[in-house]
Each structure stands twice: as C-alpha cells, then as structure tokens.
C-alpha cells in the first residue's frame, strides 16, 4: 500500500523531516527500514531484538534530524551509524556482555545464511544474486567491517592475516561491489 506516492530528493526529505513532517517520516521509514533492520539484525542475530533496536533507531533519527549535516555525508550513512551504534551498544550492555563478541568466520557466515532466510522478498533477490560475485573472503571482510563493527586492525588480528592484506581485500571488495551495483 502506497500511502503517499510523493518522491523526495534527499535534500527535500531532510528539510521536511526538520519541519517535523510525519509524511516525510513515513517515506523515510518505507525507504530505509529493511536496510537498517538488516544492519541491526546482522549484529544482534535476533528478529525481535532487531526490531526493538530498529524502532529506537528511527525515533533517534526523528528526534535528532537537526544534527544531521549533509556536508559530512549521505543521509543513509548517518542513519546507518545511529542504527549500528545502537545495536553495538545493546550488544555491549550488561544483558549481552557474557556473550562473546569475538566472531569467527563461521558465525559470520552463519549470519549471512540466517539473513538469507529472512531476506526481503521484494527487491533483494536481484542484489543478492549480484553479491554472489564477491568471493567468500571478500564477503567475510565486508561483513566484519561493515556489520560486526571491527576495525581493520581487529580483523587482521582475528583472521591472522596482515593488516595490509585486509586493507587491500576490503578495497578490492568495494571496487567489485561498485562494479556490480552500478
């Protein structure tokens, strides 16, 4: 159901949000909820918890939209940081402290697999097919740095490969991604 067929440019969207326009918020949610939920889910690996954090993230986005500075980057990157940080905070909180954040290659891959099962049916299949062009090593690195919140130094230590190699591989993965998606 399309409540509003209105399309916003990123600039219009941000200024409407700053004007507390609920329609703009609805549009924002419709456009980004599945991506942000995926980012959160990747980290917490729990459907219900992910949805709680997603809700919290969108409230924070709504309440802090005035802090967004478009000279620093795209709206999505800013929103993703909020969602990702909230998810990281949850994982670090007392409830989840006992759980080890150290993620082996295997569990990163499991996360990808689990994620595959709940994948968005509407538009992601095509993307997913494209992603398969990335080799497994590249997918692991991208997932560790983009989702698990590892620094490149931490990845190097975790996977016991030189930091330079991590950088090069992430770099080549990004180049591949860009080729695939553009």
């Amino acid at each position: 159901m399309q409540i509003s067929k209105q399309q916003y440019t990123e600039h219009e969207l941000v200024s409407s949000l700053k004007d507390r326009d609920e329609k703009a918020f609805s549009y924002l949610y419709n456009n980004y909820n599945i991506s942000l939920n995926g980012v959160i889910f990747m980290l917490v690996n729990d459907v219900t918890l992910a949805e709680d954090i997603l809700q919290e993230a969108f409230l924070k986005i709504w309440n802090n939209i005035d802090l967004y500075d478009d000279t620093k980057g795209k709206l999505y990157t800013w929103m993703r940081r909020i969602a990702h940080n909230l998810a990281l905070d949850t994982m670090k909180s007392s409830q989840y402290k006992n759980q080890n954040r150290i993620v082996t290659n295997e569990s990163v891959l499991t996360n990808i697999a689990v994620n595959n099962n709940v994948i968005n049916k509407f538009e992601s299949n095509d993307f997913r097919r494209k992603l398969e062009f990335l080799d497994e090593k590249q997918q692991i690195l991208i997932n560790m740095s983009y989702y698990q919140g590892y620094t490149q130094k931490e990845i190097a230590k975790e996977l016991e490969i030189p930091e330079g190699t991590v950088k090069t591989r992430i770099r080549s993965a990004i180049i591949e991604l860009r080729k695939i998606f553009t």
Partner: protein
C-alpha cells in the same frame, strides 16, 4: 601522499563508518576538502555501503512502523497539551480519553487498511496459485491421456481395424485397436463428424450376424476431442460399426444412422 595511496589506504572506508580516530578523521577531512577525487571516492564508498545493506535487507514486521507512527504522533500531542492548559483534573482526564480514543481510532483505521490490503494481496496470491495449480493439473491429464493414447497402438498384440464411412457419411473414419491377447477393444474416434447435441456415437460389435452393444463413445472433459478409449472386450467379432444414437445409447442400432463400419 598520492591520491591513489589515500584511496587505497583503507582509511576512507573507516571514515565512512566513523571508525577513524580523531587524528585520522581530521586527516581525511582535509583530504576531502583538498582533493575532489577523495570526496568522490567517499561518496562512492557510501553508495556501495548503502547498496550492500540493501542486499542484506531484512523485512521487519509491520508492527514496528505502527508503533513508531503512534509514538511520533503522541509526542506532538504531548507538546500541545500544556498550551491548552486545563486546571480541572476532570477535564484533563477527559482529554486523556479523547487522545486515547483518537489514537486508537487512528490505529484501528490504519490496521484495518493494512488488513484489507494484506487480505487483498493474500486473495490475489491464492487465486494465482489456484490458477497455476489447475493449469498444471490440466497439463498433467493431457500428458496422461497422450501417454495412454500411445500405449494402445504400440502394444505388441494390438490389431488395428479401420472403420470406413458409409454412403451417408463417406468421409468419416474411426480406428479400433483390438488386443488379441486380452480381447480389449480401444477406439480412436477423432475422424467422426461432430456429434449433434443430444446424440452420442455408439459402438457395435457384430457377432454371429447380430449387433451387440460395445459401449458409448465419450468426448473428453472439454467436450471437444476424442481420446483413445476402452470399450467392451470381445474374443471374436465379425465386424465393428458405429451409429449415431440418442445420448446414453440404444439397445439396438439405428441402421439409418450407421456412420462407419468395418469388416474383419
């Protein structure tokens, strides 16, 4: 540092993810301001990150949006309450109920719209499924009938008997496959003229000079086509004949409606 070195340093990716330390952040910002290539690279990294996330998207339940919208709306309600400034506690309770009722009506309308919408989607999806299933069934029964149509003529014991048109219907033909081991009789009747409404073709076996009912010839489910079909079985027959009879058949053949006949 060369631009290529900057781009391949890995720092730009970290910067996008806000994983750089203070010193690195300042460094990247100054590069960004100095080199358009770096600014462009940063945008490209952001773009690929967004696309990558989209590929890993997970659909949350519809509840999340409903909860969010109601939270946002109730917030703006909170703000407007003080400006109304009601001293009497009784009235504020009234107002509370007003807002509660308003909020629940909005939720109700919203959820009804969603329900109707999902029901429609569900209905059209299950319709599509039913259509697809009936198509498959139709295909399957066509294949099954084609297979059984092939089985009979290919049978080693099958003897083919051709029934030729009579003077009243010279272009009509029919074929009988008579299995000599079992006596089973199959008919392929697609060469008969279209059957008039209320009538039906009846097969007769001529035994000792007398016609014996060998069964009614049925059209397929669509009422259009004759498949090869099994009739009554006979051990020895002098001839086969087909007459046009009233629907359901007759005890004795109507000779003036004799359509095809064979001699053995």
């Amino acid at each position: 540092m060369e631009i290529n070195d900057i781009i391949s340093s890995g720092l730009l990716e970290l910067y996008v993810l806000e994983k750089t330390n203070e010193q690195e952040t300042i460094q990247v910002q100054s590069w960004k301001a100095t080199y358009p290539e770096v600014a462009q690279e940063l945008l490209a990294i952001e773009y690929s990150l967004e696309q990558y996330d989209r590929a890993h998207a997970v659909v949350p339940s519809a509840e999340v949006k409903n909860k969010l919208l109601s939270k946002i709306m109730s917030k703006s309600d909170d703000r407007s309450i003080p400006s109304i400034s009601i001293p009497a506690p009784v009235r504020s309770i009234n107002n509370f109920w007003k807002y509660a009722v308003a909020a629940s009506i909005i939720l109700l309308i919203g959820s009804s719209i969603l329900t109707v919408n999902y029901y429609d989607k569900y209905k059209s999806a299950s319709n599509d499924l039913a259509i697809a299933e009936s198509k498959i069934q139709a295909q399957e029964s066509t294949i099954a009938s084609l297979n059984s149509n092939l089985e009979v003529p290919l049978n080693n014991y099958s003897q083919q008997v051709v029934l030729k048109g009579t003077p009243s219907s010279p272009s009509s033909t029919a074929k009988i496959f008579w299995l000599r081991n079992s006596g089973d009789v199959y008919i392929e009747a697609s060469g008969l003229p279209e059957v008039p409404k209320g009538s039906q073709y009846q097969l007769w076996a001529i035994i000792d000079g007398k016609p014996v009912d060998a069964g009614m010839i049925m059209l397929d489910n669509n009422g259009k086509k004759y498949n090869i079909q099994k009739m009554k079985s006979f051990g020895s027959v002098q001839a086969f004949a087909i007459t046009l009879e009233k629907e359901g058949g007759s005890p004795t053949p109507t000779m003036e409606k004799l359509t095809v006949i064979s001699t053995l």
